[in-house]
Symmetry: C2
Subunit: 348 residues, 2 copies
Amino acid sequence: MKVNGKHYLTIWMEGSTVYMIDQTLLPFEFRIFEAKNYRDTCKAISAMIVRGAGAIGVAAGFAMAQACMEGQGGGYLDYIQNARKEIEATRPTARNLFYATERVFNAALKSVESAIREAIAIAEENIQDALAIGKYGQAIIPGKARIATQCNAGWLGFVDHGSALSVVYAARDAGKVLFVYVNETRPRSQGARLTAWELHHENIPHTIIADNACAYFAASEKIDLFVVGADRIARNGDTANKIGTLDKAIIAKEFGIPFYVAAPLSTFDVKCQTGKDIPIEERDEDEVLFQSGTDAEGVYRNIRVSNPGSHALNPAFDVTPAGYITGIITEKGIIKPIEEEIVKICNA
Amino acid sequence: MKVNGKHYLTIWMEGSTVYMIDQTLLPFEFRIFEAKNYRDTCKAISAMIVRGAGAIGVAAGFAMAQACMEGQGGGYLDYIQNARKEIEATRPTARNLFYATERVFNAALKSVESAIREAIAIAEENIQDALAIGKYGQAIIPGKARIATQCNAGWLGFVDHGSALSVVYAARDAGKVLFVYVNETRPRSQGARLTAWELHHENIPHTIIADNACAYFAASEKIDLFVVGADRIARNGDTANKIGTLDKAIIAKEFGIPFYVAAPLSTFDVKCQTGKDIPIEERDEDEVLFQSGTDAEGVYRNIRVSNPGSHALNPAFDVTPAGYITGIITEKGIIKPIEEEIVKICNA
């Protein structure tokens, strides 16, 4: 997608350096973060400089390739095995991360060059998958749809285009007139910061709402459908996604509003029988207790927005049981969230 | 309740000055705001220096009494009629506001002294009602209850004790061991700022959670019941309360968790047939787009936490239909949210 007229990807690799848009600074500052080795890339994943299931997967693949380059020579296998463990410990929930480390690690057993080619292939597939998700998904968007989304499943969460927002962009390109309700998505506000930034740059009409206001707008018949991303989809269709997704799915069910998940097949984990098998990352309480942004002079600041002395619990994801999900939009078409269709499409 | 060992009320009147704890500065600074005339008090209500249905009602009663003192002499009736309109325009949703202006205005038709006595009586009743709500409500709290609440329905939202939190305090005083899930309650974060501050001062174990995490904890069977406050209760039991209450009620229903509303009878509006008749206040978008708090040096700052150029919609309340509500805890006992019981208790 374009930023100030120039085409950018969310993440890319040149030589042994991984470049990524620093998403902790957006929407206030547009800066490229350079990860010179796999440990830098690991830190970038943990600190959410790069985030979103698709982009995390690509970053993990690049990190694995970096480790291969660094570990050439004596002790190569030990080095890349240890690196794989470190990479996989950065964020436990996103399936795409493990999908990527496995592919690049297996290629690395052949050669460093194979590992690099595999990591780049994962990034290129990510772009094509996102485009295809948009193509299939836009078919279910009504002509004047008011769409609600959670977190950021946009191009920033992939290498390009996104998952849920790829559907929005494709529907817009098909001439549909859209309005997007952007749930703020506390605690890290990826909705208010990243999704709103994307939609603003794409001139797509939208409004930010507090996460608390979602039921109000659903009850007021102002939301036609939900489209959200996913971090891991179990064999039975249970879907882990950013915390608050379950709240929105329950609201959607209550008011009879279609609730779609958009995700590439690399997000599916058929070894997880149900959502109960998906590990949920718990992050630092300070993400809830503090908030960052810019003051009137444009200075970036971190402030306490809660009672000093009180603590917080901060699960980063929740699991939406398959029964709440109308359909899953993949790069091979839209499927029902049931084992039969999931296993079939994953093996196709 | 006590602050640093000294007993405080949320709001009180001495002579023609209304004093109130400035709730826009809590939990970072404890300061008393002085409203020297009714217009100051109106501004304090609009700016949420005083907030919470009960405290708003008392503030409105005091403002009406201030107007009577100011308007003595020629043009008295015109003056207090205009003042009443101004006071009632400050915040449209809270029933207690209109309840108080009506009572004090009617008394003012007799004499200024009657108006002052009536305003003070409303404040004193508010304290007694809150205590009685706690007494009745604590009976439904299990011995080791994990309670979720929304916004602040504590002593800061009343003159003392609170509604939902009065139940918590009474249950604690009855020897019950409690844990409270404090929903942050964006956009103004009354949960993270005020409820957490109250519970911290009362040494009641609690955790702040992002509003988004409520379904996660409900699905994890970590919430035994919800107790929330109310800003206006219609004749059929439909209840307006802080935005996000409906989301929580829907989640409670989905997981079979009891959902109680705690409110004095002054919050009931039997002239509203259903929730559709309750006006919903829309507040400034900046409450969503910005957030305030203190930096590491303790300096109070307001920062943008959202994409510049994007807008927000900011409904301050939502309506929870009666069907979601297990019971309403009042100062005269616990009732079902049905017209028959509501009309009976309001006329008792």
